[in-house]
Protein backbone atom coordinates (compact mmCIF):
# COMPACT_ATOMS: atom_id res chain seq x y z
CA UNK A 1 0.00 0.00 0.00
CA UNK A 2 1.34 3.45 -0.90
CA UNK A 3 1.62 6.05 1.84
CA UNK A 4 2.73 9.67 1.81
CA UNK A 5 4.17 10.94 5.07
CA UNK A 6 6.03 14.10 5.96
CA UNK A 7 8.85 13.27 8.36
CA UNK A 8 10.98 16.02 9.89
CA UNK A 9 9.92 18.41 7.15
CA UNK A 10 10.54 16.12 4.17
CA UNK A 11 7.73 14.39 2.32
CA UNK A 12 8.19 10.72 1.48
CA UNK A 13 6.00 8.47 -0.64
CA UNK A 14 6.54 4.75 -0.17
CA UNK A 15 5.02 1.34 -0.74
CA UNK A 16 4.65 -0.45 2.63
CA UNK A 17 3.09 -3.67 3.90
CA UNK A 18 0.06 -2.88 6.12
CA UNK A 19 1.73 -4.71 9.02
CA UNK A 20 4.74 -2.37 9.00
CA UNK A 21 4.97 -0.47 12.29
CA UNK A 22 5.60 3.25 12.09
CA UNK A 23 8.85 2.85 14.02
CA UNK A 24 10.05 0.20 11.55
CA UNK A 25 9.24 2.47 8.65
CA UNK A 26 11.12 5.37 10.26
CA UNK A 27 14.19 3.34 11.12
CA UNK A 28 14.47 0.78 8.36
CA UNK A 29 13.08 2.64 5.36
CA UNK A 30 13.94 6.24 6.12
CA UNK A 31 17.05 5.59 8.22
CA UNK A 32 15.72 7.68 11.12
CA UNK A 33 17.52 5.52 13.66
CA UNK A 34 17.45 8.27 16.29
CA UNK A 35 14.05 6.84 17.22
CA UNK A 36 14.70 3.59 19.09
CA UNK A 37 12.70 0.53 20.10
CA UNK A 38 13.01 -0.35 23.76
CA UNK A 39 10.33 -2.93 24.48
CA UNK A 40 7.85 -5.23 22.82
CA UNK A 41 4.92 -4.22 24.97
CA UNK A 42 4.37 -0.48 24.31
CA UNK A 43 5.37 0.28 27.90
CA UNK A 44 8.68 2.04 27.62
CA UNK A 45 8.05 5.05 25.40
CA UNK A 46 11.56 5.05 23.89
CA UNK A 47 10.01 5.10 20.40
CA UNK A 48 7.93 8.25 21.06
CA UNK A 49 7.54 10.58 18.07
CA UNK A 50 5.02 13.30 17.28
CA UNK A 51 2.21 12.45 14.87
CA UNK A 52 0.42 15.58 13.69
CA UNK A 53 1.80 17.41 16.71
CA UNK A 54 0.93 14.86 19.42
CA UNK A 55 3.20 12.31 21.05
CA UNK A 56 2.60 8.65 20.15
CA UNK A 57 4.46 5.42 20.71
CA UNK A 58 5.56 4.62 17.16
CA UNK A 59 5.72 0.89 17.95
CA UNK A 60 1.95 0.97 18.46
CA UNK A 61 1.02 2.80 15.27
CA UNK A 62 0.97 1.23 11.82
CA UNK A 63 2.82 3.10 9.09
CA UNK A 64 -0.39 3.04 7.03
CA UNK A 65 -2.17 4.92 9.82
CA UNK A 66 0.33 7.76 9.36
CA UNK A 67 -0.63 8.18 5.70
CA UNK A 68 -1.17 11.88 5.03
CA UNK A 69 0.26 12.88 8.41
CA UNK A 70 3.22 14.86 9.65
CA UNK A 71 5.77 13.07 11.84
CA UNK A 72 8.50 14.69 13.91
CA UNK A 73 11.29 12.55 15.30
CA UNK A 74 14.20 13.39 17.58
CA UNK A 75 16.24 13.91 14.41
CA UNK A 76 14.01 16.77 13.33
CA UNK A 77 14.45 18.95 16.42
CA UNK A 78 17.82 20.65 15.98
CA UNK A 79 17.96 23.76 13.79
CA UNK A 80 21.09 24.86 11.93
CA UNK A 81 23.28 22.79 14.22
CA UNK A 82 21.61 24.23 17.34
CA UNK A 83 20.00 21.80 19.74
CA UNK A 84 16.30 22.22 20.58
CA UNK A 85 15.99 23.84 24.04
CA UNK A 86 14.79 20.55 25.52
CA UNK A 87 17.77 18.69 24.03
CA UNK A 88 20.04 21.40 25.40
CA UNK A 89 18.44 21.15 28.85
CA UNK A 90 18.94 17.35 28.92
CA UNK A 91 22.61 17.93 28.05
CA UNK A 92 23.09 20.69 30.61
CA UNK A 93 21.37 18.78 33.42
CA UNK A 94 23.06 15.43 32.76
CA UNK A 95 19.58 13.99 32.21
CA UNK A 96 20.86 10.79 30.66
CA UNK A 97 22.99 7.92 31.75
CA UNK A 98 22.91 5.17 29.08
CA UNK A 99 20.85 7.46 26.85
CA UNK A 100 18.52 4.85 25.39
CA UNK A 101 15.33 6.41 26.76
CA UNK A 102 16.46 9.93 25.83
CA UNK A 103 14.88 10.30 22.36
CA UNK A 104 11.48 9.29 23.71
CA UNK A 105 11.89 11.32 26.91
CA UNK A 106 12.70 14.45 24.93
CA UNK A 107 9.81 13.98 22.48
CA UNK A 108 7.37 13.43 25.35
CA UNK A 109 8.81 16.37 27.32
CA UNK A 110 8.17 18.65 24.33
CA UNK A 111 4.59 17.37 24.12
CA UNK A 112 4.14 18.04 27.84
CA UNK A 113 5.52 21.58 27.57
CA UNK A 114 3.18 22.31 24.68
CA UNK A 115 0.26 21.48 27.02
CA UNK A 116 1.69 23.08 30.14
CA UNK A 117 4.44 25.62 29.60
CA UNK A 118 5.55 25.70 33.25
CA UNK A 119 4.73 22.38 34.91
CA UNK A 120 5.28 21.67 38.59
CA UNK A 121 7.52 18.74 39.45
CA UNK A 122 4.57 16.38 39.95
CA UNK A 123 3.09 17.40 36.60
CA UNK A 124 6.39 16.60 34.91
CA UNK A 125 6.46 13.19 36.55
CA UNK A 126 2.90 12.47 35.41
CA UNK A 127 3.58 13.90 31.96
CA UNK A 128 6.43 11.46 31.35
CA UNK A 129 4.77 8.47 33.05
CA UNK A 130 4.68 6.63 29.73
CA UNK A 131 8.46 6.74 29.44
CA UNK A 132 10.71 4.42 31.39
CA UNK A 133 14.37 5.01 32.26
CA UNK A 134 16.07 1.72 33.14
CA UNK A 135 18.97 3.66 34.67
CA UNK A 136 16.33 5.27 36.93
CA UNK A 137 17.80 8.68 36.25
CA UNK A 138 14.49 10.43 36.71
CA UNK A 139 15.70 13.18 39.04
CA UNK A 140 17.80 14.90 36.42
CA UNK A 141 15.25 14.23 33.69
CA UNK A 142 12.59 16.04 35.70
CA UNK A 143 15.08 18.82 36.43
CA UNK A 144 15.89 19.13 32.73
CA UNK A 145 12.25 19.39 31.71
CA UNK A 146 11.61 22.15 34.23
CA UNK A 147 14.82 23.90 33.20
CA UNK A 148 13.75 23.72 29.55
CA UNK A 149 10.36 25.16 30.48
CA UNK A 150 12.07 28.22 31.88
CA UNK A 151 14.26 28.55 28.80
CA UNK A 152 11.41 28.32 26.35
CA UNK A 153 8.64 30.69 25.57
CA UNK A 154 5.15 29.12 25.51
CA UNK A 155 4.22 27.34 22.31
CA UNK A 156 7.11 24.93 21.95
CA UNK A 157 4.88 22.29 20.41
CA UNK A 158 3.74 21.67 16.86
CA UNK A 159 4.36 25.26 15.71
CA UNK A 160 8.00 25.22 16.69
CA UNK A 161 8.48 21.94 14.85
CA UNK A 162 7.04 23.07 11.55
CA UNK A 163 9.83 23.31 9.02
CA UNK A 164 9.25 25.53 6.04
CA UNK A 165 10.50 24.22 2.70
CA UNK A 166 12.85 27.19 2.48
CA UNK A 167 14.72 26.23 5.62
CA UNK A 168 15.08 22.62 4.48
CA UNK A 169 16.83 23.73 1.28
CA UNK A 170 17.66 20.86 -1.04
CA UNK A 171 16.07 18.28 1.25
CA UNK A 172 12.60 19.59 0.56
CA UNK A 173 10.27 17.89 -1.88
CA UNK A 174 9.01 14.39 -2.37
CA UNK A 175 11.47 11.57 -1.91
CA UNK A 176 10.72 8.14 -3.23
CA UNK A 177 12.54 5.21 -1.76
Amino acid sequence: MRITVTVDGTTYSDEVEPRTLLVQYLRERLGKVGTVVGCDTSNCGACTVHLDGHSVKSCSVLAVQADGCEVTTIEGLARDGQLHPVQRAFHDNHALQCGFCTPGMIMQAIDLLAEDSDPEEQAVREGIEGNLCRCTGYQNIVRAVRDAAHEMRPGAGPEAERVSEATMGTQAGVHRS
Partner: protein, 283 residues
Protein backbone atom coordinates in the same frame (compact mmCIF):
# COMPACT_ATOMS: atom_id res chain seq x y z
CA UNK B 1 7.90 -8.48 17.09
CA UNK B 2 6.14 -7.77 13.82
CA UNK B 3 2.46 -8.62 13.33
CA UNK B 4 1.47 -11.46 11.00
CA UNK B 5 0.36 -10.38 7.54
CA UNK B 6 -3.10 -8.90 7.11
CA UNK B 7 -5.08 -6.97 4.53
CA UNK B 8 -5.98 -3.40 5.41
CA UNK B 9 -8.84 -1.12 4.47
CA UNK B 10 -9.58 2.39 5.71
CA UNK B 11 -13.21 3.27 4.93
CA UNK B 12 -14.34 6.88 5.35
CA UNK B 13 -18.01 6.35 6.31
CA UNK B 14 -19.89 4.13 8.76
CA UNK B 15 -21.80 2.53 5.87
CA UNK B 16 -18.58 1.59 4.10
CA UNK B 17 -17.10 0.27 7.34
CA UNK B 18 -20.16 -1.91 8.00
CA UNK B 19 -20.02 -3.24 4.42
CA UNK B 20 -16.29 -3.94 4.72
CA UNK B 21 -16.93 -5.82 7.97
CA UNK B 22 -19.71 -7.90 6.37
CA UNK B 23 -17.55 -8.71 3.33
CA UNK B 24 -14.54 -9.69 5.41
CA UNK B 25 -16.28 -12.26 7.62
CA UNK B 26 -15.17 -13.69 10.95
CA UNK B 27 -11.45 -13.20 10.58
CA UNK B 28 -11.57 -9.41 10.34
CA UNK B 29 -10.87 -7.04 13.24
CA UNK B 30 -11.84 -3.42 13.69
CA UNK B 31 -8.87 -1.12 14.27
CA UNK B 32 -9.83 1.90 16.38
CA UNK B 33 -6.93 3.63 18.16
CA UNK B 34 -4.95 0.39 18.13
CA UNK B 35 -3.44 0.84 21.59
CA UNK B 36 -4.58 -2.61 22.71
CA UNK B 37 -4.94 -4.28 19.32
CA UNK B 38 -1.54 -3.43 17.84
CA UNK B 39 0.42 -4.78 20.85
CA UNK B 40 -1.74 -7.93 20.66
CA UNK B 41 -0.93 -8.29 16.95
CA UNK B 42 2.75 -7.71 17.63
CA UNK B 43 2.82 -10.44 20.25
CA UNK B 44 0.90 -12.62 17.76
CA UNK B 45 -1.81 -13.30 20.31
CA UNK B 46 -4.17 -12.61 17.42
CA UNK B 47 -3.69 -12.85 13.68
CA UNK B 48 -6.76 -11.44 11.89
CA UNK B 49 -6.69 -11.68 8.10
CA UNK B 50 -8.05 -8.17 7.67
CA UNK B 51 -8.02 -4.92 9.63
CA UNK B 52 -10.76 -2.36 9.07
CA UNK B 53 -9.30 0.94 10.26
CA UNK B 54 -11.88 3.47 11.47
CA UNK B 55 -9.29 6.24 11.72
CA UNK B 56 -10.63 8.04 8.66
CA UNK B 57 -14.33 7.80 9.59
CA UNK B 58 -14.59 11.40 10.76
CA UNK B 59 -18.32 11.13 11.60
CA UNK B 60 -17.31 8.91 14.55
CA UNK B 61 -15.12 11.58 16.15
CA UNK B 62 -16.20 14.15 18.69
CA UNK B 63 -18.78 14.86 21.39
CA UNK B 64 -22.14 16.52 20.77
CA UNK B 65 -25.34 17.28 22.65
CA UNK B 66 -28.60 15.61 21.72
CA UNK B 67 -31.37 16.84 24.01
CA UNK B 68 -30.88 15.34 27.45
CA UNK B 69 -27.89 13.28 26.39
CA UNK B 70 -24.31 13.62 25.25
CA UNK B 71 -23.29 11.58 22.24
CA UNK B 72 -19.66 10.49 22.27
CA UNK B 73 -18.41 9.27 18.89
CA UNK B 74 -16.74 5.88 19.21
CA UNK B 75 -13.52 7.19 17.63
CA UNK B 76 -13.16 10.16 19.99
CA UNK B 77 -9.69 9.87 21.52
CA UNK B 78 -9.12 9.76 25.26
CA UNK B 79 -7.18 13.01 24.87
CA UNK B 80 -10.22 14.72 23.34
CA UNK B 81 -12.63 13.26 25.92
CA UNK B 82 -10.49 14.62 28.77
CA UNK B 83 -10.44 18.11 27.24
CA UNK B 84 -14.06 18.24 26.13
CA UNK B 85 -16.12 21.01 27.81
CA UNK B 86 -19.43 19.10 27.38
CA UNK B 87 -17.98 16.06 29.16
CA UNK B 88 -16.63 18.30 31.93
CA UNK B 89 -20.07 19.83 32.42
CA UNK B 90 -22.39 16.85 32.00
CA UNK B 91 -20.33 13.66 32.43
CA UNK B 92 -17.46 14.57 34.73
CA UNK B 93 -17.01 10.95 35.87
CA UNK B 94 -16.13 9.84 32.33
CA UNK B 95 -13.55 12.62 31.97
CA UNK B 96 -11.95 11.78 35.31
CA UNK B 97 -11.72 8.04 34.57
CA UNK B 98 -10.38 8.70 31.09
CA UNK B 99 -7.62 10.93 32.43
CA UNK B 100 -6.24 7.89 34.31
CA UNK B 101 -6.06 5.62 31.26
CA UNK B 102 -2.49 4.48 30.53
CA UNK B 103 -0.21 7.44 29.66
CA UNK B 104 -0.30 10.59 27.51
CA UNK B 105 0.94 8.87 24.33
CA UNK B 106 -1.70 6.14 24.59
CA UNK B 107 -4.42 8.72 25.35
CA UNK B 108 -3.52 10.55 22.14
CA UNK B 109 -4.35 7.45 20.07
CA UNK B 110 -6.71 5.30 22.15
CA UNK B 111 -10.44 5.84 21.70
CA UNK B 112 -13.52 5.81 23.92
CA UNK B 113 -15.38 3.29 21.75
CA UNK B 114 -12.35 1.13 21.18
CA UNK B 115 -11.77 0.79 24.89
CA UNK B 116 -15.40 -0.16 25.60
CA UNK B 117 -15.61 -2.64 22.71
CA UNK B 118 -12.32 -4.25 23.79
CA UNK B 119 -13.98 -4.93 27.18
CA UNK B 120 -10.84 -5.58 29.17
CA UNK B 121 -12.04 -6.15 32.77
CA UNK B 122 -9.18 -3.90 33.96
CA UNK B 123 -10.11 -1.12 31.51
CA UNK B 124 -11.15 2.08 33.25
CA UNK B 125 -14.09 3.21 31.12
CA UNK B 126 -16.56 0.35 31.49
CA UNK B 127 -17.33 0.97 35.18
CA UNK B 128 -18.23 4.64 34.65
CA UNK B 129 -20.25 3.67 31.55
CA UNK B 130 -22.20 1.16 33.62
CA UNK B 131 -22.63 3.47 36.61
CA UNK B 132 -23.99 6.24 34.37
CA UNK B 133 -26.35 3.91 32.47
CA UNK B 134 -25.00 4.84 29.04
CA UNK B 135 -26.36 3.31 25.85
CA UNK B 136 -24.19 1.81 23.13
CA UNK B 137 -25.30 2.59 19.59
CA UNK B 138 -24.23 -0.11 17.14
CA UNK B 139 -24.52 -0.41 13.38
CA UNK B 140 -24.65 -3.56 11.27
CA UNK B 141 -25.99 -4.66 7.90
CA UNK B 142 -29.45 -4.89 9.50
CA UNK B 143 -29.30 -1.26 10.60
CA UNK B 144 -28.92 0.43 13.95
CA UNK B 145 -29.75 -0.76 17.45
CA UNK B 146 -28.93 0.35 20.97
CA UNK B 147 -27.63 -1.78 23.82
CA UNK B 148 -27.81 -0.58 27.44
CA UNK B 149 -24.47 -0.71 29.25
CA UNK B 150 -25.99 -3.21 31.70
CA UNK B 151 -26.33 -5.71 28.81
CA UNK B 152 -23.24 -4.75 26.78
CA UNK B 153 -20.48 -6.34 28.86
CA UNK B 154 -20.90 -10.12 28.68
CA UNK B 155 -17.60 -11.64 29.81
CA UNK B 156 -13.81 -11.17 29.60
CA UNK B 157 -13.13 -9.27 26.37
CA UNK B 158 -16.66 -10.15 25.23
CA UNK B 159 -19.53 -7.78 24.50
CA UNK B 160 -23.07 -8.08 23.16
CA UNK B 161 -21.83 -6.88 19.74
CA UNK B 162 -22.85 -9.48 17.14
CA UNK B 163 -20.61 -10.51 14.26
CA UNK B 164 -20.73 -7.75 11.66
CA UNK B 165 -21.73 -5.06 14.15
CA UNK B 166 -19.78 -1.91 14.87
CA UNK B 167 -19.94 0.31 17.98
CA UNK B 168 -20.47 3.80 16.58
CA UNK B 169 -21.67 6.06 19.41
CA UNK B 170 -22.19 6.11 23.14
CA UNK B 171 -25.17 8.04 24.49
CA UNK B 172 -24.61 9.38 28.00
CA UNK B 173 -27.52 10.89 29.94
CA UNK B 174 -26.53 14.30 31.27
CA UNK B 175 -25.39 14.35 34.89
CA UNK B 176 -25.17 18.12 35.14
CA UNK B 177 -24.17 19.29 38.60
CA UNK B 178 -23.19 15.83 39.85
CA UNK B 179 -19.94 15.42 41.72
CA UNK B 180 -17.67 12.60 40.65
CA UNK B 181 -14.42 10.81 41.27
CA UNK B 182 -12.58 7.82 39.82
CA UNK B 183 -10.24 6.12 42.26
CA UNK B 184 -7.77 3.72 40.72
CA UNK B 185 -5.30 1.43 42.42
CA UNK B 186 -2.31 0.14 40.49
CA UNK B 187 1.25 -0.77 41.32
CA UNK B 188 3.18 1.50 38.98
CA UNK B 189 2.58 4.40 36.61
CA UNK B 190 0.63 3.52 33.44
CA UNK B 191 -0.29 0.05 34.76
CA UNK B 192 -3.79 -1.40 34.48
CA UNK B 193 -6.16 -1.05 37.41
CA UNK B 194 -5.89 -3.78 40.02
CA UNK B 195 -9.22 -2.38 41.21
CA UNK B 196 -10.92 0.89 40.28
CA UNK B 197 -14.04 2.63 41.62
CA UNK B 198 -16.16 5.12 39.70
CA UNK B 199 -18.46 7.24 41.87
CA UNK B 200 -20.92 10.02 41.03
CA UNK B 201 -23.13 11.68 43.65
CA UNK B 202 -25.70 14.42 44.00
CA UNK B 203 -25.37 16.28 47.28
CA UNK B 204 -27.91 18.71 48.70
CA UNK B 205 -26.69 20.54 51.76
CA UNK B 206 -24.71 17.75 53.38
CA UNK B 207 -27.04 14.95 52.31
CA UNK B 208 -26.31 12.51 49.51
CA UNK B 209 -29.52 12.43 47.45
CA UNK B 210 -28.38 10.23 44.56
CA UNK B 211 -25.41 7.92 44.07
CA UNK B 212 -24.01 5.83 41.24
CA UNK B 213 -21.04 3.56 41.78
CA UNK B 214 -19.29 1.17 39.39
CA UNK B 215 -16.36 -1.16 40.00
CA UNK B 216 -13.44 -1.95 37.67
CA UNK B 217 -11.78 -5.38 37.69
CA UNK B 218 -13.92 -6.91 40.44
CA UNK B 219 -15.37 -9.49 38.04
CA UNK B 220 -15.02 -10.49 34.38
CA UNK B 221 -17.28 -7.52 33.64
CA UNK B 222 -17.76 -4.15 35.34
CA UNK B 223 -20.00 -4.34 38.42
CA UNK B 224 -22.63 -1.86 39.55
CA UNK B 225 -22.31 -1.43 43.31
CA UNK B 226 -26.06 -1.13 43.90
CA UNK B 227 -25.76 -2.00 47.61
CA UNK B 228 -23.39 0.93 48.12
CA UNK B 229 -25.69 3.25 46.20
CA UNK B 230 -28.72 2.28 48.33
CA UNK B 231 -26.74 2.66 51.53
CA UNK B 232 -25.49 6.13 50.55
CA UNK B 233 -28.76 7.74 49.51
CA UNK B 234 -30.28 9.85 52.31
CA UNK B 235 -27.09 9.77 54.38
CA UNK B 236 -25.11 12.73 55.56
CA UNK B 237 -21.80 12.80 53.68
CA UNK B 238 -19.75 11.97 56.79
CA UNK B 239 -16.65 9.72 56.80
CA UNK B 240 -18.48 7.20 59.02
CA UNK B 241 -21.56 6.97 56.81
CA UNK B 242 -19.49 6.67 53.64
CA UNK B 243 -17.25 4.01 55.16
CA UNK B 244 -20.27 2.02 56.33
CA UNK B 245 -21.87 2.19 52.89
CA UNK B 246 -18.61 1.15 51.22
CA UNK B 247 -18.73 -2.20 53.07
CA UNK B 248 -21.40 -3.23 50.52
CA UNK B 249 -18.90 -2.86 47.65
CA UNK B 250 -18.14 -6.59 47.45
CA UNK B 251 -21.77 -7.61 46.89
CA UNK B 252 -22.24 -9.24 43.52
CA UNK B 253 -18.53 -9.27 42.70
CA UNK B 254 -16.43 -12.28 41.64
CA UNK B 255 -12.84 -11.00 41.79
CA UNK B 256 -10.07 -13.12 40.32
CA UNK B 257 -6.68 -13.91 41.83
CA UNK B 258 -3.71 -13.02 39.66
CA UNK B 259 -0.10 -11.91 39.98
CA UNK B 260 -1.15 -8.53 41.33
CA UNK B 261 -3.66 -9.46 43.99
CA UNK B 262 -5.65 -12.37 45.38
CA UNK B 263 -9.43 -12.23 45.58
CA UNK B 264 -9.55 -11.27 49.26
CA UNK B 265 -7.17 -8.37 48.69
CA UNK B 266 -9.31 -7.16 45.79
CA UNK B 267 -12.36 -7.25 48.07
CA UNK B 268 -10.46 -5.21 50.63
CA UNK B 269 -9.44 -2.73 47.93
CA UNK B 270 -13.01 -2.43 46.63
CA UNK B 271 -14.23 -1.27 50.05
CA UNK B 272 -11.33 1.09 50.70
CA UNK B 273 -11.38 2.61 47.21
CA UNK B 274 -15.17 3.00 47.26
CA UNK B 275 -14.87 4.93 50.48
CA UNK B 276 -12.12 7.12 49.00
CA UNK B 277 -13.95 7.66 45.71
CA UNK B 278 -17.23 8.67 47.35
CA UNK B 279 -15.44 10.88 49.87
CA UNK B 280 -13.52 12.64 47.09
CA UNK B 281 -16.69 13.02 45.02
CA UNK B 282 -18.55 14.58 47.97
CA UNK B 283 -15.59 16.96 48.25
Amino acid sequence: MIPAEFDYVAPTTVDDAVRALADAGDEAKILAGGQSLIPVLRMRLAAPTKLIDLGKVTELQGVREDGGALVIGAMTTHYDVVRDPLIAEHAKLIGMATSTVADPQVRHRGTFGGSLAHADPAGDLAAPALALDVEMVVHGMDGRRTIPASEFFVDYFTTALRPGELLTEVRVPKYTGWHAHYEKFNRVAQAWSIVGVAAAVQVEGHTITQARVGLTNMSSVPVRASGVERALVGQEATPEAIKAAAQHAVEGTMPVADGNADAAYREHLAKVLTSRAVTAACG
